[in-house]
Amino acid sequence: MNAATAHGAAVEPAETPLTPESWGKLGMWIFLAGDAVGFGTLLAGYGAMRATSADWPNPYEVLGINLTALMTFLLICSSVTMVKALEWLSRGHRDKAKMFLALTATGGAIFVSLQAYEWTHLIHRGLHINGNPWGASLFGTSFFLVTGFHGLHVTAGVIYLLATIGVVSRRPDPMASYNFVEITGLYWHFVDLVWIMVFTFMYLL
């Protein structure tokens, strides 16, 4: 029995058949499924509002997609650094894993900063939560609600990643934090996955 199993055995009386490594992983998957319903509801609501509106602006002409395409690429890159962190950890390189976790958090922080820049720019051009110069007022409402909800997830993710670096630093055995990092990764990839959907449905369509 190694440190990871010993650590797990202290708090987990029985193993789950779905995720034998830990209950935490199953817990995160169930949380993400619930969160996905939240985002699904927002996007379905967006679709319904748009379908019933006669003057919905063309999003990619109004919002511009150059910056958001860059943000999408950045989030995909941060997903790669996240899996690289896990890969290095499984090979026993704790410092490299921490470096890749820090890179992932930096990617997330840059994403949120770019989103703040984009919001500021659009607000200056007249896009408000209760109206805009281009058409249906619900366009602004849904835009800020959905991208804001996602931005909140990225912000939470950056804090989560920083906490994860702390956990990896405190546990000398790299394998002792493998499960923790994998669960953090699940959350982070989910945030990336949701952005793929938001980018397609709110910017490109």
Binding site: N2, A4, T5, P17, L18, T19, L26, W29, I30, L32, A33, G34, A36, V37, G40, T41, L43, A44, G45, G47, A48, A51, T52, A54, Y60, I65, A69, T72, F73, I76, C77, S79, V80, M82, V83, K84, L86, E87, S90, R91, M175, Y178, E182, G185, L186, H189, F190, D192, L193, I196, M197, F199, T200, F201, L204, L205
Partner: protein, 108 residues
């Protein structure tokens, strides 16, 4: 504990980057908007599936966990159909109002 299996992450990264580039190109294609929308939906689900299967290791997990992951997609799809009748009702009402408004405004 044996070393964990890891897929070729860089290959998935290039795959995702190329799909994103294609998505950006698709919106400028000179074809009807409905086809563009269908293509974009396919690409989005394709990319999301790649992230879930390889980055989130769903491919290596128990099948039941995959069912948990797919449930929200089923619920969201169902929700679209639930919202559709409501949406059409509102659209009709809006167009009726538009028909009524001009003559009323002309009386003033």
């Amino acid at each position: 504990m044996a070393e964990h299996k890891h897929p070729n992450y860089m290959a998935i990264f290039y795959y995702l980057a190329i799909l994103t580039a294609i998505e950006l190109g698709v919106i400028f294609l000179p074809i009807p908007k409905v086809y563009i929308a269908v293509l974009l939906c396919i690409f989005a689900i394709w990319k999301a599936a790649l992230v879930a299967m390889y980055f989130m290791h769903l491919k290596l997990e128990a099948r039941t966990l995959g069912l948990i992951a797919v449930t929200p997609l089923a619920i969201a799809t169902l929700l679209v159909f639930v919202l559709l009748p409501d949406g059409f009702a509102v659209a009709k009402k809006t167009s009726d109002e538009k028909k009524v408004v001009p003559p009323a405004a002309a009386k003033h």
